[in-house]
Symmetry: C2
Amino acid sequence: MQKSVVLYSGGLDSTTLLWSLRPDVKALLVDYGQRHRTELDHARDICDAFGIEYEIADLRGINHLIQKGSQSGTEQVPDGHYAELSMKTTIVPNRNMIMLSVAVGWAIATGSKAVFYAAHGGDHAIYPDCRPQFVKAFAEAVELGNGWDDITVKAPFVNNTKAQIVKLGSMLGAPLELTWSCYKGGDLHCGTCGTCVERKEAFQLAGVPDPTAYKGVEEIR
Amino acid sequence: MQKSVVLYSGGLDSTTLLWSLRPDVKALLVDYGQRHRTELDHARDICDAFGIEYEIADLRGINHLIQKGSQSGTEQVPDGHYAELSMKTTIVPNRNMIMLSVAVGWAIATGSKAVFYAAHGGDHAIYPDCRPQFVKAFAEAVELGNGWDDITVKAPFVNNTKAQIVKLGSMLGAPLELTWSCYKGGDLHCGTCGTCVERKEAFQLAGVPDPTAYKGVEEIR
């Protein structure tokens, strides 16, 4: 069977997505000069450890063009809850569409029929490109723009919470302990940035023991 | 007034588009490791000569992922009329969507409100991503995916023929003699590849003297 493509960040959501599609799946990792490059290393390590085929899209050549928010620019990473408006500074202009477009190109070039995107319900408030309306419009553009090829885009978690995804990942035996969420990079999850707060909350709500070593917790010990 | 962004190849269509929007316009050039790199030089030369602000998106880091057709891969560039099916080999998977997505990212990061795309009617038969339906779906995805920003995508030539574009370009005083169409690269237009055939035809139908030095014609002299 032809493998599907997952746009893969090495985080909780896309790792669970990858596991839900194994073994007929391959991963596209993206290097866009992100501050949290640790993410990329974790994604690669997971693929290597489990024999998952992957490629890295090197988009550092356009990084200077889309520097605006805190992820690729110079603004500070905000602490606090993910759903707050301050998290808007984590938006890199049109980043997800750029990465998805590359994933679609790679999928078509290698005969894949589908690109999977791990957008989820918890992201809707802040990230318009994680909403079902965007996924629908984007998938339509992809299908219309590549009429000679049989290709589609799917976001199966688009109406799920992160807690539901953690539950599913745990059920599927995905290596959640190897995933990376923190926007600040470093050796350990900071435990205070928006994605760390969201990560902790998701394990708690899912009733799944959190395997993450958080920096603050380490320091207190 | 805030400048609009034109996705700029240095060809007839996007040069005319650029001229129709001057002076409130800036250009995004794309280096994707194309065989016809002459195109990129011409685009840059035109911008430099007329003081048009531009940036180059370096997408060579993803070239290995989308190698399929003759433009970035190893297949031979076909001769013949552009509208023939053999020209399908000139398709690089999802290339235009990738470039447009980057243009949208740059536009948002720099406060532009619109990205202009020089897709035209003559491309419809072969290139699905030059059709009005694609432009509409893509523009919708861009607007939905970037809800915090005021951004749109326009393709004003999408129902025009190349001959009409040449006529307009000539009327606007666009430097059509400096533009580049040939897919084969080199110093002179080959005169026989699909885009050269289309270029010749467009000038002829427009009733505009063709300023292009074609290789075959040179050799005969």
